[in-house]
């Protein structure tokens, strides 16, 4: 299940890699001599501009008390029997799996690929008497009960990172977007950074952690912060400078490959894309596809209109905006990096959607953006849906059960 369409330079490589968040850890022993540690960054492969790829990390829960259940191996065995687009791979702990699309060209393409994968997941989950659920966190799982998926690499990582690896039982959506060349990728990366709060607020679906309401709409990203080299990418707009930065970092011995960076957005040279990693996994694949459509429309706007030049100063408010979006979701305050103007994030999201109308129409993403727009106008995201269910049911296990029904389109 690999992808090649639209990516002639990486014909044998999928747009969405068969790797996971957990592959981003660093574990191997380092050479003693700093000079011998230097690794050259691989060249930025060609890809079709504005092509898309989506990865979704999903939860496997039992149907009795709706806690996470270690069924990844069984699920992968059954999924391998069904011909599907994209791929299904294991994740760090045995209650997680990751699905991904092949190369897509529109939000419509994404949902066309994700739908049969979802149907197969539901069918196989029913066969195993489990359920598949979206959401950025499981509402009440206890991290210490998680088991590392039985794979040498995951065991090594677990030994290196201890409890952090089990606490990394969080579920995100990654969106890859094809860029015309390496410099354009960096330019797009830093432009896209201004919209990180938008992505967080729109996808937020992790208000509950370890049985408690965290008061955050997206508490998942707080777990990512525990790892070194998280957060923002360094401000370089030329690939040559970025290569030099990468080589300096490898000399320190802290970094050995691009996988060691788990920035919010990072370049993916082997696929010729940038990868946006701040989304919580939404509760439905339809919303996941809509979010991909939003990213693609933004990218089209950047490429075709060059609407602004990113600067290092954009990052002065980056962490504050990111925190606001995680904490308050659509109710956050957004500080415009260029003007310093404070405004409701909701308004800024609606404003960008208006700016993107023409591009979304050209990309066949009007319906996707329309759905997102309606939810923003109603001040609703998945975190709010989860809180409303908990307010009514007063039982997080029941919230997870209803979220499982929502994933299969029955709630």
């Amino acid at each position: 299940m690999t992808a090649s369409m639209g990516f002639p330079d990486s014909a044998s490589t999928p747009l969405v890699p068969n790797t996971t968040d957990s592959d981003d850890f660093r574990s191997a022993a380092l050479p003693a001599d700093p000079a011998s540690r230097v690794v050259k960054l691989e060249p930025f492969n060609r890809s079709e501009a504005l092509s898309l790829g989506v990865e979704l990390e999903l939860q496997l829960v039992n149907t009795h008390d709706y806690d996470l259940a270690p069924y990844a191996e069984d699920m992968l065995r059954l999924m391998a029997q069904t011909p599907l687009p994209g791929s299904v791979v294991p994740e760090m702990t045995s209650s997680m799996i990751e699905i991904s699309t092949d190369i897509c060209h529109s939000a419509q393409d994404v949902i066309t690929q994700l739908s049969p994968i979802r149907e197969a997941l539901i069918k196989n989950a029913d066969k195993l008497n489990i359920a598949v659920v979206g959401g950025g966190t499981h509402a009440f799982q206890q991290w210490h009960e998680r088991r590392i998926y039985d794979k040498p690499r995951f065991r090594e990582l677990s030994e290196l990172y201890g409890y952090l690896s089990k606490q990394f039982t969080i579920f995100g959506q990654h969106v890859h977007i094809g860029c015309p060349d390496a410099d354009a990728a960096l330019l797009m990366l830093h432009r896209m950074s201004r919209y990180i709060p938008h992505f967080i607020a729109l996808s937020a679906s992790s208000p509950f952690v370890q049985g408690q309401d965290t008061q955050f709409d997206s508490a998942r990203l707080n777990s990512v912060f525990a790892f070194p080299l998280s957060g923002r990418a360094p401000f370089t707009l030329s690939w040559k400078e970025f290569e030099a930065y990468f080589e300096r970092m490898t000399r320190t011995g802290v970094v050995r490959s691009m996988k060691d960076f788990y920035w919010d957005i990072r370049p993916k040279p082997e696929f010729g894309t940038i990868e946006i990693r701040v989304f919580d996994t939404p509760l439905t694949v339809e919303r996941a596809a809509a979010l991909a459509g939003y990213v693609q429309s933004l990218a089209a706007w950047f490429l075709q209109e060059q609407p602004f030049e990113p600067t290092e100063d954009d990052y002065l408010v980056y962490t504050y905006n990111r925190f606001q979006a995680c904490r308050f979701g659509l109710d956050a305050v957004y500080v415009d990096p260029a003007s310093g103007q404070h405004m409701p994030l909701r308004d800024h999201i609606l404003m960008t959607m208006t700016q993107l109308e023409w591009h979304s129409e050209a990309l066949n993403a009007t319906q996707a953006l329309g759905e997102l727009r309606t939810s923003v106008e109603a001040n609703r995201n998945d975190a709010r849906w989860l809180r409303e269910k908990q307010g009514k049911e007063r039982l997080l296990a029941e919230v997870v059960r209803q979220a499982a029904l929502r994933f299969r389109g029955a709630a």
Binding site: H64, D65, A69, D126, L128, N129, E393, L395
Partner: protein, 423 residues
């Protein structure tokens, strides 16, 4: 002076000066339970074995020593306590019996029917081969169908297990308990009547099932009503649940149904009426644990009262081996298309080896119905139950660890490298 006379002397001595408010048997039982709890803890901590092994060892030692707190065949309060313990476990097991799973994966049901059928006919065949008459072999074969959900759930709790093998073993154990209870209770009523026609044979099964279904349905409806205004996580709901199961158990036994079967059906119906996740297991906590511990101790005290001879031991051994083989074979033959691997099928079969309270209750029914045949049944049934309560628990633990479904490493806690930190 042997151990029995020593205990009798001690009891006589104590009764001279000890005047407990609730009577000497209460003191004895309390001390016995205290010793069992400590033994269960030590067995787990220093040997890495499930706690139920410790409970059974204490019960067996006291039973061998001639403790008279539980006389076979069971009657009165001891019989009720056994039924209540089994009913609590089966109510919960019934709530975990996922009927919709069988619709999506009918091979699980085929696995269940096949392992139960093979077990019954396998054990019947070996007993006939060893010369036991049919009226004795048949009840023992029926008892052998049961894979104790009580032992299995305790092992799951001790190993903090979850996963495909754990879930499937528990489901199959609940299903075969259902078959064995319906058939066992019905046949006990016919043991001395020798029915001729199929209708005559099926009628008592229908009566036992029907009565148990009515009580189970009342139990489910009562709880469904309570859950409309009570939280499943409330302690009050747990107490209400226990009290209703106790009332249901007493009532079912009185009208001629099977108390554990009624509880099992009640659990299934409640889950069907109220698909929300069950959150009261954690609340039931200590009360349910005490009840199930009492059940294991009682089973081993009674089972230890059997006559242990070499011929009996060889029959028991043959029953145990054939039963284990039949369960593994049944699960494995129907495994293709069931979503499990061959390795998982093998370990599911092994995890279903425990025998305990349900088998004892079925044996008790036959003994009460026919004291003469009951004695012969008891000779094989009781040692099998005692052995498979202990060995079955160990084998189930091995199975759970072999497939990596335990959340704790299989090392005695005292020597474990990972600390279980408590607040």
């Amino acid at each position: 002076m042997n151990l029995t006379s020593l205990i009798n002397d001690l009891l006589g001595f104590w009764s001279e000066w000890l005047r407990p408010s609730a009577g000497l048997p209460t003191v004895m039982w309390s001390l016995l339970l205290a010793a069992s709890a400590a033994s269960g803890h030590l067995v787990q901590r220093y040997l890495g074995l499930p706690k139920v092994v410790g409970y059974s060892i204490v019960g067996a030692v006291v039973g061998f020593a001639g403790f008279e707190g539980a006389i076979w065949p069971l009657r009165g309060i001891s019989l009720f306590l056994l039924e209540l313990g089994a009913a609590v476990v089966l109510f919960e097991a019934g709530g975990r019996l996922p009927l919709r799973w069988f619709r999506h994966n009918p091979m699980v049901l085929v696995q269940s029917l096949l392992e139960a059928t093979l077990t019954y006919f396998g054990v019947l065949w070996v007993l006939q081969l060893l010369g036991l008459p049919d009226p004795v072999a048949n009840p023992i074969a029926l008892m052998a169908i049961v894979a104790s959900p009580a032992v299995l759930s305790r092992v799951i709790m001790d190993t903090r297990a979850s996963g495909p093998v754990t879930e499937r073993a528990m489901t199959l154990a609940t299903l075969n308990t259902f078959y064995a209870l319906a058939l066992g209770y019905a046949q006990a009523g016919l043991i001395e009547r020798a029915p001729q026609t199929l209708l005559q044979k099926l009628y008592p099964v229908a009566v036992v099932l029907g009565l148990s279904f009515v009580i189970g349905a009342i139990l489910a409806l009562a709880l469904r009503t309570a859950l409309r205004f009570m939280s499943p996580t409330s302690e009050s709901t747990s107490i209400l649940l226990l009290a209703l199961i106790a009332a249901g158990a007493a009532l079912t036994a009185h009208v001629g149904g099977s108390a554990p079967l009624a509880a099992l059906i009640g659990g299934v119906l409640l889950k069907t009426l109220n698909p929300k996740p069950w959150a009261w297991q954690r609340q039931l906590g200590t009360a349910a644990s005490l009840l199930t511990m009492l059940m294991f101790v009682l089973v081993s005290i009674v089972a230890a009262q059997a006559d242990w001879t070499l011929p009996v031991a060889s029959v028991v051994l043959a029953v145990i081996v054939v039963r284990l083989f039949a369960k593994i074979a049944g699960v494995a033959i129907a495994n293709p298309g069931s979503g499990a691997s061959w390795k998982q099928a093998f370990w599911v079969g092994c995890a279903m080896s425990p025998l305990s309270a349900i088998a004892l209750l079925i044996a008790s029914n036959f003994t009460t119905a026919s004291p003469l045949l009951g004695t012969m049944i008891t000779q094989v049934a009781l040692p099998s139950i005692l052995l498979m309560e202990v060995m079955g628990a160990v084998l189930a633990t091995v199975a759970i660890h072999a497939v990596g479904e335990s959340s704790v490493p299989w090392a005695p806690q005292a020597f474990s490298t990972t600390e279980d930190t408590q607040r």
